[in-house]
C-alpha cells in the first residue's frame, strides 16, 4: 500500500472514537454488527460465512476493514474508499465462490425514506465500482437500511460520520 501509516492512523482514530463513545454511554458498533452477522446473509467481523478469517488482521490490512464511509448526502467514493473496495474486489476475484451483501446506511438527518434511497445509492456505488473491477453482479446483493441501523447512536457529526456507510458482508 502506498500510505500504510495513514491507514494505521485512520484505524487508530476509529478505535479512539469508538472508545470515546463508549465512555459517554454511547453504544459502539460491536453489538449491533454481531446481531446483523446472524440476521443478514453475511458476516460482519473479519471472517467468512464459515468463520474462516478473511485478511491478515494486521494493522493496515484492507480486507479486515468492512465499512466504507461517505460525506453528508453523498454516495461518492473517495480515494481511500476506492482502495478499500479494490482490495475486496481482488479478494473476490481470487475466491470465485464468495458472494457478498452490500448494506447501505445513512445518518439520521433528513427523512427516513430519503435516507433509505440514499443508503441504496451508496450500496449501488460500491456495487458499480466492484462491477467495473470485474466482479460479476450476480455475486453482489444490495440492501439499504437507511437511517434505521446506526453504527453510533449519538446526535452529532462524530456519530453521523460513522453512520454514513456501506458495510461489506461476506457470505457464500
Amino acid at each position: 500500500m502506498r500510505k500504510p501509516l495513514f491507514y494505521v492512523l485512520v484505524v487508530l482514530m476509529s478505535v479512539t472514537i469508538a472508545a470515546c463513545g463508549g465512555k459517554k454511554g454511547v453504544k459502539d458498533e460491536g453489538a449491533s454488527v454481531e446481531d446483523r452477522g446472524v440476521s443478514a446473509a453475511g458476516t460482519g467481523a473479519g471472517v467468512d460465512a464459515y468463520g474462516r478469517p478473511i485478511g491478515t488482521g494486521e494493522a493496515g490490512d484492507m480486507l479486515g476493514r468492512r465499512k466504507v464511509y461517505f460525506e453528508f448526502d453523498s454516495a461518492t467514493l473517495d480515494e481511500e474508499s476506492r482502495a478499500l473496495v479494490e482490495a475486496h474486489a481482488n479478494y473476490l476475484a481470487n475466491n470465485p465462490n464468495m458472494t457478498l451483501v452490500l448494506e447501505g446506511h445513512a445518518d439520521e438527518r433528513g427523512t427516513r425514506e430519503y435516507n433509505l434511497a440514499l443508503g441504496e445509492r451508496r450500496a449501488q456505488t460500491v456495487s458499480d465500482f466492484m462491477g467495473a473491477l470485474g466482479v460479476s453482479g450476480n455475486r453482489i446483493q444490495n440492501v439499504s437500511y437507511g437511517e434505521e441501523r446506526p453504527e453510533s447512536v449519538g446526535h452529532d457529526e462524530s456519530a453521523w460520520r460513522l453512520n454514513r456507510r456501506v458495510e461489506i458482508l461476506y457470505g457464500n
Partner: protein, 434 residues
C-alpha cells in the same frame, strides 16, 4: 429451549406494556396561544357511584386548547359552576371575558352506561348554540368527548373539527441491544394506544387508507424493505410489493385503488403506481437522481414527491400519470416529504434550513414557505384531516417524541410516552362515528 423462553418473555413484556401504555402518556403544551377565542369549559357534573371512568369535560377542554383556536379560561376565574341552561348567568361569563361557554353533566344510568349532556352557549348573544344528550358505555366516553369537541369547534370556527380521529406511529424499545418495533394506533390526543404489529426489524412509513380501514407500511422483517397493507379490523395483512431491492414510501390514491410507492428494482429509487386490484405496475418517474416520498393531491390529479434531481432534495409535482414535472420549492437548503392538506391548497414538508430540519407549510398558490418549528431534527409531518394541526416527529432529551403544531405555528405540544423512542406519525382521515 432458551429461545422459546425468550420469545415467551418478550410476549409477556409486550402484553404488559400494551395494557399499561394509555396510562403513561403525558401531553405537554410547549407553546401557548395568544389570541384564540376565550372559552370557559365548566367541569361537568358527575352523578354516579364510583369515580367516572373518563373526565369528559377535561378531554374537551384539552382538545380545544390544543387546537390553537381557543384560549381556555382557568377554572379559578369562574364565578359559578353551572351544569344546566337554567343555572347559567351570562353576566358572570361576560365579566371574565368568556365568549363561549360549555356546560354539562355525566350520569351513570346503569352499570357501565352513562348519559352525557352538554350545552354550548354564545355568551354575548346569551344564546345556546348547541346541546345534545347521549347514552354510551364506559369504553366510548373518550370518543364521545372528542365528538363533542368536534361540535364545539365547528359551531365556533365554522370548520370541521378533527378531534375524533386517530394517529398511527412507530415505537422502538431497547433500540441498542434487541430492538422491538411496534406499529401502533391511538386517538388523536395519543390516548387509547393499541399495537397492530410487532417486529424485531424496522417498520417505517405507515400510511392510512382514505377510508381509515387499512394501513400501508414498510417492514424490514424479511431483511429487506417491503410494502405491506394491513386491515385494522382483524389485523389481516398482505405483502403488496416485494420486488428486488427496496420497496417503500407507500401513498394511497384518494379513491384507495392505487398505491404510489418507491421501488429500486431498476437500481435507483423511482416512483411507481401499483393498482391494488389488478397488481398492474406503472412507472411514473425516470431520473438517475433519487425520487421518493410520493403523496397524492386530494383530487387525485397530481403527485408531489422529493427529488434530488437539482443536486439537493427538493419538492416536485407531477400529474399522476408521471407527466408535467415541475419544481415547487426553492427556499431552504433542502425540502423533503411533502403531503397535502385536505383542501389541496397547502403542503406540509420537512425543510432543511441553516438551523436544522424543521416542519414547514408551503402555500401552493403563492409558493410562500412558512417555517413552523425551531427544533432541529423534525420529520414525518402530516396534516390533521381538517388542516388545522400538523403532527410530526422530533427529538427531546435524546428521545424521539411526537409533537403537534397548529398550522399557523401558534400552538405547539409534545406527546410523551414513558417508554421507547416514538417516530413516524401519520394522522388518519376522518373517523367513523359512534
Amino acid at each position: 429451549m432458551s429461545k422459546i423462553l425468550r420469545v415467551w418473555l418478550c410476549m409477556m413484556v409486550g402484553w404488559i406494556w400494551t395494557a399499561d401504555a394509555s396510562a403513561v402518556l403525558e401531553i405537554e403544551i410547549t407553546q401557548g396561544v395568544e389570541a384564540g377565542v376565550p372559552i370557559a369549559v365548566v367541569p361537568f357534573e358527575w352523578r354516579g357511584s364510583a369515580p367516572p371512568p373518563q373526565v369528559v369535560s377535561d378531554i374537551i377542554e384539552a382538545d380545544l386548547y390544543r387546537s390553537g383556536r381557543f384560549d381556555t379560561i382557568p377554572h379559578r376565574d369562574f364565578l359559578s359552576q353551572p351544569h344546566d341552561h337554567n343555572e347559567v348567568k351570562f353576566k358572570e361569563w361576560r365579566l371574565i371575558k368568556a365568549e363561549a361557554l360549555v356546560v354539562g353533566r355525566v350520569q351513570e344510568v346503569t352499570a357501565n352506561q352513562f348519559r352525557v349532556e352538554f350545552r354550548l352557549f354564545d355568551v354575548f348573544k346569551a344564546k345556546q348554540l348547541s346541546g345534545f344528550s347521549y347514552v354510551v358505555n364506559g369504553g366510548q366516553l373518550r370518543k364521545l368527548a372528542h365528538q363533542i369537541s368536534d361540535i364545539v369547534y365547528f359551531k365556533l370556527t365554522g370548520e370541521k373539527g378533527a378531534f375524533d380521529t386517530r394517529i398511527a406511529y412507530v415505537t422502538v424499545e431497547n433500540a441498542q441491544l434487541q430492538p422491538r418495533y411496534l406499529l401502533r394506533i391511538a386517538d388523536s390526543d395519543g390516548y387509547g394506544a393499541k399495537t397492530i404489529l410487532e417486529s424485531k426489524e424496522p417498520i417505517i412509513s405507515p400510511a392510512w387508507s382514505p377510508d381509515g380501514a387499512k394501513l400501508a407500511y414498510v417492514s424490514f422483517e424479511n431483511r429487506r424493505p417491503m410494502v405491506f397493507v394491513q386491515r385494522l379490523l382483524d389485523g389481516a395483512r398482505e405483502k403488496v410489493a416485494n420486488f428486488p431491492g427496496s420497496n417503500s414510501a407507500p401513498a394511497w390514491s384518494p379513491n384507495g385503488s392505487t398505491l404510489a410507492m418507491v421501488l429500486s428494482r431498476d437500481g435507483n429509487a423511482e416512483i411507481y403506481a401499483l393498482t391494488l386490484g389488478t397488481r398492474k405496475l406503472r412507472r411514473l418517474t425516470n431520473h438517475h437522481a433519487i425520487d421518493t416520498e410520493p403523496a397524492w393531491s386530494p383530487d387525485g390529479r397530481h403527485i408531489v414527491f422529493t427529488s434530488a434531481r437539482s443536486g439537493r432534495p427538493q419538492i416536485y409535482r407531477m400529474r399522476s400519470d408521471g407527466s408535467q414535472v415541475e419544481r415547487l420549492t426553492f427556499e431552504g437548503r433542502e425540502n423533503l416529504r411533502a403531503s397535502y392538506s385536505r383542501d389541496g391548497k397547502r403542503l406540509t414538508l420537512v425543510t432543511h434550513q441553516t438551523s436544522g430540519y424543521h416542519i414547514g407549510v408551503l402555500e401552493l398558490d403563492s409558493k410562500g414557505l412558512l417555517v413552523l418549528t425551531n427544533s432541529t431534527l423534525d420529520e414525518s409531518p402530516s396534516f390533521s384531516p381538517n388542516g388545522g394541526m400538523i403532527l410530526y416527529a422530533t427529538r427531546q432529551g435524546g428521545q424521539g417524541v411526537l409533537a403537534a403544531v397548529s398550522s399557523d405555528g401558534r400552538v405547539k405540544q409534545t406527546l410523551k410516552f414513558q417508554q421507547g423512542d416514538v417516530r413516524e406519525p401519520a394522522w388518519s382521515p376522518y373517523n367513523r362515528k359512534l
